[in-house]
Structure formats: C-alpha cells, structure tokens
Amino acid sequence: MKPLAELTSHCIRCGFCLEACPTFTETASELESPRGRIYLVRSADEGKIQWEDVRPHLDRCLGCRACETACPSGVEYGAILEIARDRLNRLRPNLARKFLLKTTTTPVLLRFNLAAGRLLGSKVPEPFSRMISGQSPEANQPKAQSMGNFSPLTGEDLPDVRGEIYLLEGCAMRVLYPRVHQATRRLLRRIGFTVREVPQGCCGAMHAHNGELADARGKARALVAAMPGDLPIIVNSAGCGSTMKEYESLIGPEGEAFAARVTDLSEFLLAYGLKERLTDAPGLREPLTYHDACHLAHGQKIRSQPRELIRAIPNVDYRELGEADTCCGSAGIYNLTQPALARQLIERKYRHIQATGAALVATGNPGCHAWIAQAAAEHGQTVRVLHTAELLEMAFDAAPFTA
C-alpha cells in the first residue's frame, strides 16, 4: 500500500466530494466530510494534530467511497481510510469491534450467534450496542434466509456446460443468504457455467474496511491459495468483490493475477449472455427498482451491468431510484457501530424507495440487503428486498421466491 503522505497529497481541497458524502450531508460538518477527513489524516500523519483527535471522525465514516466517484483528482480515499484506521487500531485496539468482526466473519460463530440471538429478542441487545457504539441499537439481529425450494434445472433449452468458475461463498453470505447462492448457481448454469467447489474462508474485506489490515492480509493470502489456476472468480457480494479486486494493493504482487480474475456476478452474467437467455423467461410484472451497493457503484464502478440485466427481464416495470448510489447506512458493521447515523440514512433511502412505488428492490450486497429489508418490515412490508441474482432467477422461475 502507498504511504499516507503520498495518498493524502492528491487532495487539493476543491470540495467536489462534499455533497457526495452521506455523513456530510446529514451532519453538515466538515469533520464528517471526505475533504475534512483527508486533511485530518494528513495532519495527524505529519504530527500537526493527535491521531486520537481524528478517531471519532474516521469512526463515523461509512467507507462508502462515494467521494472517490466524485473526486476529479483520483484520491484513493478507501485506501486512506483503511490505513488510517489500521494506525488507530494499533494505537488503541477496539476490542469490542474486533470481537464483532470475528463473530460476523466466522461462519460457525455466526451460526451460534444466530441461535443465541433468537433468545434475546429481535434487536441487537442494548448492553452489546452500548459497548460497541455508546448508543442504543437500531439494527436487528441477523436472521438467516431459508433455502429456496428449486426444482432441478433441466430442459432442452439449457445450454451445454462450457466452463467452470469459482464462486466466493463468503463468511456471512453463506450463513445468512443461502438462497442467493442457490440463485447465483442457477443463473451461472443457465449461461453454461458450473461452480468448482473448493474449501474457502473469508476474503478479509470487513477486516480491511475496518483497518484490521494484518487480519485482512492473512485471509486474503489464504483465499488466493484456495482458488489456484486461472478460473474466473465470481463474487455476489459487493464489499468482498471490491476488496478482492484490490488484493494487489493489500498483499502485493501475489494478489495481482488473482485480482484480475475477480468478477462481480452481474458483470459475468452480462458478458456471457444472460440477457439473451432472459428473453425466453416468463419475466416479472411487479414494479421494481435497484439500489446500488456502494462497493459496486463506487468501489467497482459497476452501475450499468445490473441495470442492463434487470431491464432485460420480460415485461419489466423498472423504476430508477432517487439517490440510488447513496449509502443506505448498513456499511458493513456501521449500523452496529454508528446506529443513529445509520438510522438516518436508512430512512432517507427508504423514502426514495417508497417514492418509486416499487414492490421489489434489488441490490448486490448482503449488508444493504438485510438493512433495507429491516426498514421494509418496519414500514409495513409493502416492499420486498432481493439480491439481484434472486430477482433475475425469479424472472425465470418465480415459485421458489413466493413461498
């Protein structure tokens, strides 16, 4: 990774990032803006202020990287944030957050949590929230999705298998969203690809985003070793894909070739002809919309591909979402570490969703999925949230999604 002095020197303070930053527009404070945070990090790095003075403002950053999209100078804000957080973690480790990361990204612990959590009610318990954030909880306890009851894919129109890919199962994804993986596998098969199954762990994205860079590097190296060769690596979780595409910066040259193989599901489906396959699908009639996960839109610059696929659904009533690429406030573990701001952002997001009149919202990241689904439930469940893969599979075969 480049040094902070180099990374922060590219900000010339033009301020074009300000209105793109959800925490700036919510708080009106320069301290909660990208320009302000970069300036503070640079100042701390140069010894002009104390790192502790910077901490609360980096804690309040979503890491959504909308500022990178807005920045004409190409400032790598995501990298600045990760390195600066790593620095802060080494100065004073945040044990509660470390614990949270560990339990979220270790499937066996997460499963245990889910079971234990059911005994404690729907919200994250108050004492736990206080310890993590100093505030009352807003996020519900994670709940695992049930598996979909899909019939096997057969039929004459199913193309021959033309290749194999690796699929990132992810740490939280495999526990919380098994049906998303089912839908993913089916869509891949519909365009002639099957998944080469390998034992694999967590990609380290959550650790990197939260500045636990040593942990992130360990997990990244293990994942690189788990997926050898040159098969494409398909990822259906925006945060993971974004970090995996940046493995070179994280772990050096050994990450370079791997990173080049990483492809978001929507990119792959579009490139290999799902749009054409969709023309024969029954399609969908409910009005629907699409929420850009930050690590797709800003982290990976993937905006048009999911939309193009969704708009190819027969009979689709697609409605563009206002502020579609503004963070919903989930942001990894942000809705646990900053509940109040996360709540403001999800309400803002949900207002836009309601304004579209959509019955279905698609998105490409588990964090957004759970957080928007919670808001939908709180607002009377008039809107259903689906992963983009689920929505597309539903266009072929709606039954498993209506049960």
Partner: protein, 489 residues
C-alpha cells in the same frame, strides 16, 4: 503552531450550544484544523469554535453574543472559495451555513425562488428544471458551492459571458447585520425597498454581514444549445481566435480555453478526448436563451456554432467536435467545471488565480503567464473563461515546501500586475479574500480604498464581522497576517 484569538473555545462552547444546540457546536483540535482554510490553502488560521446555526434567528443570536463578548466571526458556506474568504483571520467563530439548506418558496409565475443560503447552486436549478427554469449563474463549483457563497463572492462561471454574474440574479436578501439586526433588502419583485443596496451586498465577501436567505431570479432554460470542443496545435492560435469570434459579431453563451497543462489530467479524470499535438482547446457554446444576443431559433444557433467552427478551422484548428446530444454536452461540461479539481493528479496543491484583461490581449497575456511560471519555477495550467478575458492560471506546487509557497505567491503577484498593466482587474469572480489583499493597491488609489472603507462602515463599524478581508491594512490585521501564510506546513 495554532493561531487562536478571541476566546478560548471551551469557555464559550456552552454559551453557543444554548443557541444552536450541542450538535451545532464543533470544537477541539480537529475542528480547529478542518476549518482553518477553504479551497485556498496558502493561508491558514484556526477558529476557536465552529457553529452550525439552523435559522436566521440563530445567526442573529450568535452575532449578538459575539458583539457582547467581542468575538470575531466569519461566515462559511461549502468552503470552496479560492481566495481565503472563509478563513477565520482573527480566530473566533466560523459560522457555517451548511444547516441552512431549505428551498423556502418557488414562485413560477414571477420566476423567483426564495432559498436559505446553504443550498448548493445546483440544487436551486434542479428544483425548477422540470419547469424549464434555472438559476443562471453557474460557477464551476456549482455542485457543492452554496447560494450564500455565490452571493458573497458575486460568483461567475462559464455562462457569465451571456447571462452575467450572480448580482443581476439576486432580487432580495435577508441578512444579519454586524449589529445583530435582521435586515431585508428587496424581495420577490424587483425595485422593492432596499433593492438598490443588494448590489453592495453581493460581492462584499461576507464583510457587511451574513446573508441567510435570498430571493433569486429564475431564468428560462434555453431550448436549443450547441456545444463544440475545438483543438488547436498552439495556445496562441486559440487565444487569437477568441477575440476574432467576438469581433465577428457572435456572442456565445460560453467560450472557455483549456491548455496543454491540464489536458492530461482531464483525460485521466473524465476521459476527455483530444487529438495528438493538441496544445489548447476551446469549449464554445451557443444557445437561444436570453434576449437577442445570439440566434433565437435552433437553425440560428446551429448556424452560429458553424460559423465559429469555420473561423476556428481557418485559424488552424486541427479538430472540431460538436456534441451530438445532451449526454455528451454534460460530459464536456463536467470535464471543464471539475477540471481544476483534477489538478491533484499533478501536485499536492493548487492556487487558482483570477485576473481579468481585455480579451484582445489574451495572446500576449498567456505568453506572459508561461514565462512567469518558468521564471518562478512553478507548474502552471490554464483553464478559464476566455470569452470575457477572465484568466485562471492555476499554479500547482507542493505546499509542504515553504519556498514553493513563496514562489507561487510571487508568480501570482506578477500575473496580477500584468493584468492591471494591460488595463484589467485584480479579480474577476473569486474575490479578494486574504489572497489578494496586497494587490488591491495596484488597482485602487488610496482615495479609492478609503471610500470603500467608508462604504463598509455604513454596515460594519466594528472589527468583528469577517475581519481582515478585502481591504488592506485593517487595524490589528497586519501583524497577524504573518501567522497565516504558509505556516501550517
């Protein structure tokens, strides 16, 4: 070294929290740092506190408290200013308008809108775009810069050439005077009481009080627009073409020049395409808005842009590209408007100068700018409003090196001296702030400056409201200035 004048922040935080709420008070080393400059980073000075008021009345209460306790204060919008206008020169308070972001009233029939001053320029236009209207001033920072800041600086922008700067588009203001009174000047309808004073307020850089709300004029969006990007093999051919276009009787709505110094950064940032060997580009736009300046029918607009293109080709242009649709036009304008922001690709810091000259002198002026940059050993790029002779030489450098800061200040001064020598002005649209205090005497005699000082005194008798700006040699400012310049790094 921290520069703090007036009260120690902590003593007063509680007092002001009673006005703006605890969340509206920012204090401590991080706040002092983050608000110590705007987009002009050569001069820096820390506030003791930053306040985020939610209403005109809260601003009034803050100013009253400042009067009572003798605390200097400086208003700040988005902090995108390029002359240090939001610098809290004597410490004290920064009063941010970023919580005043409501559009209060839209009157389509009278083509007027009332908004709080923290609303961004672009949001004003977005709010009435579906009605075929907009707020015409379009500074390049318009996606982030605020109405209040635009009023303070009398902001311009590329379309100033045809539609004028901010002043003629402001119908009324609500402001808090330095005596802590709420003053209404003008209003929805032109010619209301006080409207003749608005011209004094607009462009006063926040030194006559804090504007909190304004009535702005809404202008019809042109229904036909043609935009061309024209590449030249030398800067001189481009600058010579600029005066020929206007002399030829066509006033485009925008006529911008972009030179080789920044083209590479624009390609990297916005995928701006240009042929090999391009040294300068003109971005020219004609429309059928306004009254009788350019063509009024689509055909006439097309004919205007064709005549301009032909003239450019006669003058040696190597490529002419007319935007084929609105999307392409928007992309060209994004590259132009956010262009200066891309200069972080070249160096850690940029100072964007703002002199004005008669446009007929552009060729020799640009030669001079390059010579000055070479002499002072600083990098330079030009991206500016060529049509109205408003230069923006952008000197780029490393602000961590005090010698480079000095050289940049020296180069800027040489450029401004030349502007005045050519019969031009010290500033077109970025304001004087603290950046050009020393240069005011180049343009104005002592008598002129004394008169301006007296005009200021009508509104602002004390030394608390945005001190040390615009007028040089203000009491208690001279000695403090030494602390601002280049000291932060």
């Amino acid at each position: 070294m921290r520069t703090r004048f007036g009260p120690q922040g902590a003593d007063y935080a509680e007092k002001f929290a009673r006005i703006v709420g605890a969340e509206g008070v920012l204090s401590g080393p991080a706040a002092e740092r983050a608000y110590d400059c705007d987009a002009y980073s050569v001069d820096r000075s820390s506030p003791a506190l930053v306040l985020l008021p939610r209403s005109t009345n809260e601003v009034r209460e803050i100013v009253a408290a400042c009067l009572e306790s003798n605390i200097p204060y400086t208003a700040r919008g988005a902090g995108t200013g390029l002359s240090g206008g939001a610098l809290p020169a004597l410490g004290g308070l920064v009063i941010s308008t970023k919580k005043l972001t409501q559009i209060l009233e839209i009157d389509l029939a009278n083509r007027a809108m009332r908004a709080q001053c923290g609303v961004t320029n672009k949001k004003l236009s977005d709010a009435v775009r579906q009605d075929g209207l907009h707020f015409a001033p379009d500074p390049s920072s318009q996606t982030v810069s605020t109405l209040g800041g635009n009023i303070g600086e009398n902001a311009g922008g590329p379309h100033t050439l045809k539609y004028g700067v901010t002043a003629p588009h402001v119908l009324g203001v609500t402001m808090v005077t330095p005596e802590a009174e709420v003053l209404e000047l003008g209003g929805k309808v032109a010619g209301l009481a006080g409207s003749e004073l608005i011209g004094l307020i607009v462009g006063s850089e926040g030194t006559l009080g804090i504007v909190t709300e304004a009535w702005v004029r809404l202008t019809v969006v042109p229904t036909h627009v043609e935009t061309a990007l024209i590449a030249f093999p030398s800067v001189r051919q481009a600058t010579e073409t600029v005066s020929e276009i206007i002399a030829g009787g066509i006033i485009p709505c925008a006529l911008e020049l972009i030179d080789h110094g920044i083209l590479g950064a624009l390609r990297a940032a916005f995928n701006l395409q240009y042929p090999e060997g391009t040294q300068a580009m003109l971005l020219v736009e004609c429309d059928n808005g306004g009254q009788g300046v350019a063509g009024t029918t689509a055909d006439e607009v097309r004919s205007d842009i064709r005549r301009i293109s032909e003239l450019c080709e006669r003058n040696g242009a190597i490529h002419v590209r007319v935007a084929k649709d609105e999307a392409e036009r928007a992309k060209l304008w994004e590259a132009r408007k956010k262009g200066v922001g891309a200069m972080g690709r070249l160096a850690p810091s940029v100072v964007t100068h703002d002199g004005v000259i008669p446009r007929s002198r552009l060729p020799e002026m640009l030669d001079f700018v390059y010579a000055v940059a070479a002499k002072h050993n600083v990098g330079v790029a030009n991206i500016f409003h060529a049509g109205d002779g408003n230069l923006h030489p952008c000197f780029y450098f490393d602000d961590r090196d005090p010698q480079q800061v000095e050289r940049v200040v020296g180069a800027g001064e040489a450029v401004i001296r030349k502007c005045i020598e050519l019969g031009g002005s010290v500033s077109g649209e970025h304001g004087i702030g603290v950046e050009k205090l020393d240069l005011m005497a180049l343009m104005f005699t002592e008598d002129d400056l004394a008169l301006q000082q007296r005009a200021k005194t009508v509104f602002n008798r004390g030394e608390l409201c945005n001190p040390c700006k615009v007028l040089p040699n203000q009491k208690s400012c001279v000695e403090h200035r030494k602390r601002w310049r280049g000291v932060a790094w």
